[in-house]
């Protein structure tokens, strides 16, 4: 089931918004403070210029500083924003020689200006003003006492300039955000184009087309395309296996049917009732084998394609005991020494289906009976470990050569033997059932010393007991 969980565009948009929000806050705070600083710098220099102009006009007469305040100084102070202007000239004792700043310049301010020029925002009867003060070591014929010049003005020009600068920064920022959003949108469209192309490519394929994809994809999509190709590859393998199986099965069924046909033809040509009887016996045996073969094929097909059943908790020891008992009574087993090693005391509970486990054990026993000479020993045992239980079947027959071991579990493989009546499906069925139970199938063999098949099941833990 495919659930639509938002869109990439919306997700990227949200990220952009978050980035713009966080960055924007920082940028705008920075823009605001720097606009303030820039405005202050610009207007502070006016104060400095006015202060210089006044300083130029200071003269000393009879030991007293005298200044004919230049009108230009006020023009500079007022700026073109028409600020209210404030100024004062203080003598060495802090007395106002002239000016209109009564009481605003405190002793602390004078002390500060004594060492270096002072910039301050102060309050003048309820109006905030910017004040600049510096000490002037003026030279005269009869006095060298320092005087202080203080100038100031109101803040409307600074505020207006700062506001102007900030609004400009804000406008630039907004334009940038809009542009970024637009570019992002374009980028998303462009970036998603390969995905659309891939989708189209897949949509255009025929239902049974399982050839690898042939597409140009960006690096990020390579994994996905590669996974798709792997899926197609598995599908192809599955289909090939199915075809092979069908072909093999047909072939296997064809041989006994051809035998039946030739036997019955020979019998029809004879006139002797003995031959008929002989032929009928052959036909009976052959059809029994064929029917068993068909049953095994059915069983394998069922195992491979059946849905996962609902396996329950089952004691493997009990199943093993029952199955071995059942087989020991059959006619087929009368020429072999079929035995069961002592079972472990504690139950060996696994997750599984009784019918398929019985089928598996049966197939293992059947295999052993068929591929060993009469009189061979066949022993089944169960070995319990902490988290697994291993079912083992051993015989002392001829065994299988090492290079055949890996192929034994494939259908229609008879371990290089043509002298038996086996179909070659036994181990394949065992393998399928083991696979269903998450068990591992291992085959050990030493040529001349028999074959040992182990199936290792994961144990159900005590806690998982329902």
């Amino acid at each position: 089931m495919i659930v639509v969980d938002g869109t990439l565009k919306r997700r990227l948009g949200a990220w952009l918004l978050a980035a713009v929000g966080v960055l924007g806050t920082f940028l705008l705070v920075e823009a605001y403070t720097s606009a303030q600083r820039a405005a202050d710098r610009a207007f502070d220099s006016q104060l400095e210029a006015a202060s210089l102009t006044i300083a130029e006009a200071i003269q000393w007469q009879d030991g007293q500083p005298v200044v004919e305040i230049p009108a230009a100084a006020f023009q500079i102070l007022a700026t073109d924003q028409q600020e209210r202007v404030f100024y004062t000239l203080l003598d060495t004792g802090g007395r106002e020689v002239t000016g209109n700043l009564d009481g605003v310049v405190t002793d602390a301010l004078r002390e500060a200006a004594h060492t270096e020029p002072v910039w301050r925002f102060v309050d003048y009867h309820g109006t905030p003003i910017r004040l600049y003060g510096r000490e002037l070591k003026s030279a005269g014929w009869d006095a060298v006492e320092p005087v202080q010049i203080w100038v100031g003005h109101t803040l409307s020009g600074r505020d207006a300039l700062a506001r102007d600068l900030f609004v400009r920064a804000l406008t630039r920022f907004l334009a940038m955000v809009i542009l970024t959003g637009l570019l992002m949108w374009l980028a998303i469209r462009t970036a998603l184009r390969p995905v659309r192309r891939l989708r189209q490519l897949i949509r255009q394929r025929d239902a049974d087309d399982i050839s690898p994809l042939n597409a140009q994809v960006p690096g990020e999509l390579y994994d996905m395309a590669e996974t798709l190709n792997a899926l197609f590859e598995r599908q192809r393998e599955g289909r090939d296996a199915l075809l092979r199986f069908t072909a093999d099965a047909s072939h296997q069924l064809k041989t006994p049917l051809a035998g039946l046909q030739s036997t019955s033809e020979l019998a029809l040509q004879s006139t002797r009732p003995d031959d008929w009887r002989q032929a009928l016996q052959t036909v009976h045996d052959s059809s029994a084998r064929t029917s068993r073969l068909a049953a095994q094929l059915l069983s394998l097909a069922r195992l491979r394609h059946a849905d996962e059943g609902s396996p329950g908790r089952i004691d493997l020891a009990a199943v093993l005991r029952d199955t071995v008992m059942e087989w020991a009574e059959r006619d087929d087993a009368q020429h072999h020494d079929l035995g069961l090693a002592p079972l472990p005391d504690s139950p060996a509970d696994i997750q599984g289906e009784p019918w398929s486990l019985r089928e598996m054990i049966g197939n293992l026993i059947d295999n052993a009976l068929r591929y060993t000479p009469a009189g061979s020993e066949i022993t089944l045992s169960l070995h319990r470990e902490t988290d697994a239980v291993t079912l083992t079947i051993e015989d002392n027959g001829p065994g299988v050569s090492r290079d055949l071991l890996d192929r034994l579990h494939q259908p229609f493989e008879r371990g290089g033997r043509q002298d038996t009546e086996g179909s070659g499906l036994g181990l394949a069925i065992v393998d399928s059932i083991a696979h269903r139970h998450q068990a591992t199938l291992t085959v050990y063999s030493t040529p001349g010393h028999g074959l040992r098949v182990c199936v290792r099941f994961p144990l159900l833990t005590e806690e998982a007991r329902p």
Binding site: I69, A71, F74, Q75, Q82, R84, V85, L89, N100
Partner: protein
């Protein structure tokens, strides 16, 4: 039909005044501007705003300044020709901002901070008696006056008058401005000193002396008053100096602590309005500042007559230098030195 319309219009116009008759808002205008000169303007205002009870106090510039600083309750509107003092009061924060259409439209060079407005355009003139012309070529420039004082010292001795820089704010401002424009101004001061110049505190006294024959020539008189006077005194000639002529502007502001700020704003808006300026240009000799107002007394017409040598005293922060006590002291020291320099 037309008559009925007019009558109804009249009724509508009368209605507010009938309603407001019981509760008229008082408005106190403290001004250094002669009542008889400005009367037509005030009448027009009273006519347009019958709901406002206008009290107009005419005082000297120094008295007006004192009232603006100290009076309790404060006057609503302060008008004065002592430009630096008006500027200083506004700089102190004694004015409140006028935010109106008329204020915004007012020429930039005639206002400061939208708080104080120069609403008249009064040239500074030289005035002489017709009698003077019989003895010599009447002066048309500052240099001419200097030459006359030098060449006809005996004839003009005791017959020259001008403002007292210590007794009149207007006079002091004009001399400061003169001194800024030309260093030769001090030669003129010395020459006037040599001619035993009589220093008066206002234009009216100088005009009286001229009419009576005490003075033959007066320097730096307010053109508005002089022209008004000359219309009824044919022996008085008003000369706008041809080299440069200062222009003084009456400055008006609404007091920060105005008890009736709404009425004050109404009055200011009227002063700056087209109607107010039209009255100024048509019925008073105060000259309108607005360039598009038409009438006998407008800045534009004056410029057309005199040319480019009109130098309005700028309404900006530089005026503040004139009220700096130390600069004033220095100026007065120099004045007193120069005026005696040629005396025996």
């Amino acid at each position: 039909m037309k008559l009925a319309f007019l009558i109804s219009l009249l009724l509508i116009c009368q209605m507010p005044s009938m309603l407001m008759a019981q509760a008229r808002t008082p408005l106190h205008v403290e001004a250094a501007l002669d009542l008889q000169v400005v009367e037509p303007l005030l009448d027009k205002f009273r006519q347009a705003h019958p709901d406002i009870d206008l009290q107009y106090e005419d005082n000297s510039t120094l008295k007006v300044d004192e009232q603006a600083r100290e009076a309790k309750p404060a006057p609503d509107v302060v008008i004065s020709s002592a430009m630096p003092w008006q500027m200083a009061r506004v700089n102190e924060g004694l004015a409140q901002r006028l935010d109106s259409e008329a204020a915004r439209k007012w020429p930039k060079w005639a206002k400061w901070r939208d708080e104080v407005f120069g609403f008249t355009f009064e040239p500074i003139v030289t005035v002489y008696r017709l009698e003077l012309a019989r003895h010599m070529m009447p002066p048309s420039t500052h240099a001419d006056l200097h030459t006359l004082l030098k060449t006809h010292q005996d004839l003009l001795k005791g017959r020259v008058t001008t403002y007292s820089p210590s007794g009149s704010g207007v006079g002091y401002t004009l001399f400061q401005q003169d001194a800024r424009y030309s260093p030769r101004f001090w030669d003129l001061v010395a020459a006037m000193g040599a001619a035993d110049v009589s220093l008066e505190n206002n234009t009216r006294d100088m005009l009286k002396g001229l009419t009576e024959g005490t003075y033959w020539v007066g320097y730096n008189l307010l053109g508005s008053y002089a022209m008004h006077w000359a219309r009824s005194h044919p022996d008085i000639i008003v000369q706008i100096p041809q080299d440069y002529s200062l222009v003084m502007m009456r400055m008006a502001f609404i007091h920060r602590d105005a008890p009736h700020p709404a009425a004050a704003r109404t009055f200011m808006n009227f002063l700056l309005s087209e109607a107010g300026q039209k009255t100024l240009a048509g019925s008073t000799p105060l000259f309108s500042v607005l360039p598009d107002v038409i009438g006998p007394y407008t800045a534009q017409r004056l410029r057309d007559q005199v040319g480019d040598q009109l130098y309005p005293i700028p309404i900006n922060a530089s005026l503040l230098a004139f009220v700096d006590p130390m600069r004033r002291d220095a100026f007065m020291k120099r004045w007193n030195r120069e005026i005696k320099i040629l005396s025996p």
